[in-house]
C-alpha cells in the first residue's frame, strides 16, 4: 500500500490547518502543509482548504486568496477529478475561485454564529459524504459571519437537479438559500461546507460526526 499524503493549503490567516492535520493524522494519513505562495502541490493525493481568515478576509472572504499562486494548481488538481475539500473559509475561497458555484454572504441575522448545528446529508455522491447515508443527521459546529449561501436562482435549480447539495441545515441559522450548508462541484470531487468537521472528531469535543466526512474524503483519494 502506498502511503497517501493530503495537502493542507495554508494562507496567511488560516487557523484550522493544525486541527485538520491532527484529525487526518489520527486516521493514519500523512499530511503536508502547502504555503499559498507555492504552486507546487508536491504530489499529494487530496487537498483540504482549512478555515480561518485568509489574507485577513480583506475585501471579501477569499477574494485575495483566490489569486494566490497555489490556487491555479488547486484548480488543475480539481479539474483532474481529484478530491478537494474546503471548510468554512476554505469554502469561501473555493466559491471566489469559481471552483464551486455561488457565494457566501453575511448571515441574515446580523450575528456571528458559533454553535453546534444539526445537518442532513443530502448527496452521497460527493467526496465528503460518500460513506454517509442520504438523510443521515450529523452534528457539527459552525463558526462564521459570512455563511449565508447565495446564488442565482438558475444555479440553485441546477444544484438541486444535479445532486450537488451536500449538506443542509435542519434549522437554517444564517439565511442560506434552501438551507444549504455545503455544495459540491458537478462531478462531486470538489466539496465546500461551512460547518467544521475537524472540530467534531473526538468525544471530548461533544461529537465525532466529523470523522465521517474525513473518512469519506480519504476513501476518495
Amino acid at each position: 500500500m502506498i502511503a497517501e499524503t493530503v495537502g493542507i493549503v495554508v494562507f496567511p490567516g488560516s487557523n484550522c490547518e493544525y486541527d485538520v492535520a491532527s484529525v487526518l493524522g489520527n486516521l493514519g494519513v500523512q499530511t503536508q502543509f502547502i504555503w499559498h505562495g507555492q504552486a507546487d502541490l508536491g504530489g499529494v493525493s487530496g487537498i483540504v482548504l482549512p478555515g480561518g481568515f485568509a489574507h485577513g478576509d480583506y475585501l471579501r472572504p477569499g477574494a485575495i486568496a483566490r489569486f494566490s499562486p497555489v490556487m491555479s494548481s488547486v484548480a488543475e488538481f480539481a479539474k483532474s477529478g481529484r478530491s478537494v475539500l474546503g471548510i468554512c473559509n476554505g469554502f469561501q475561497v473555493l466559491t471566489e475561485a469559481g471552483l464551486l458555484p455561488g457565494a457566501l454572504q453575511k448571515n441574515s441575522m446580523l450575528k456571528f454564529l458559533c454553535k453546534e448545528v444539526e445537518l442532513e446529508v443530502v448527496s452521497t455522491r460527493s467526496a465528503a459524504t460518500s460513506l454517509s447515508q442520504s438523510g443521515q443527521i450529523l452534528r457539527l459546529p459552525v463558526n462564521h459571519f459570512e455563511g449565508n449561501y447565495t446564488c442565482h436562482i438558475d444555479t440553485l435549480n441546477e444544484l438541486e437537479a444535479n445532486d450537488q447539495v451536500v449538506l443542509r441545515y435542519i434549522e437554517n441559522p444564517n439565511g442560506s438559500m434552501n438551507s444549504i450548508a455545503g455544495v459540491s462541484s458537478k462531478e462531486g470531487n470538489v466539496v465546500g461546507m461551512m460547518p467544521h468537521p475537524e472540530r467534531a472528531c473526538d468525544d471530548l469535543l461533544g461529537s465525532v460526526d466529523g470523522l465521517q466526512i474525513f473518512k469519506s474524503f480519504l476513501a476518495n483519494l
Partner: protein
Amino acid sequence: MRFQAKVQVWLRPGIADPQGHTVSEAINALGYSGVSGVRMGKVISFAVEADSKEIANEKVSEIASSLLSNPVLEDVIVEISED
C-alpha cells in the same frame, strides 16, 4: 497619461446588508426622522497609467470585476477622471 480611478462596490438588491441595517437603526435611535434606505458600500480609489481614458476604463473595469467585487453579491460603478 495618469488617471484617477474610483470604484464603488455595492451589495446587489436583495443581498443582506447588516451594516447598513445597523447604521439605519442608529440613525433612528438618534431621533432623526425621514431617513431611510441606508446602504453601506465600499469605495476603492487608485491612480492608473494608460494611453487614453478608454483604455484606463477598460483596465479598471477588469480589476473591478475580477478582484474588487464578486458578481454574485455585488455591483460595481467605475469612474475615471483625469489626474
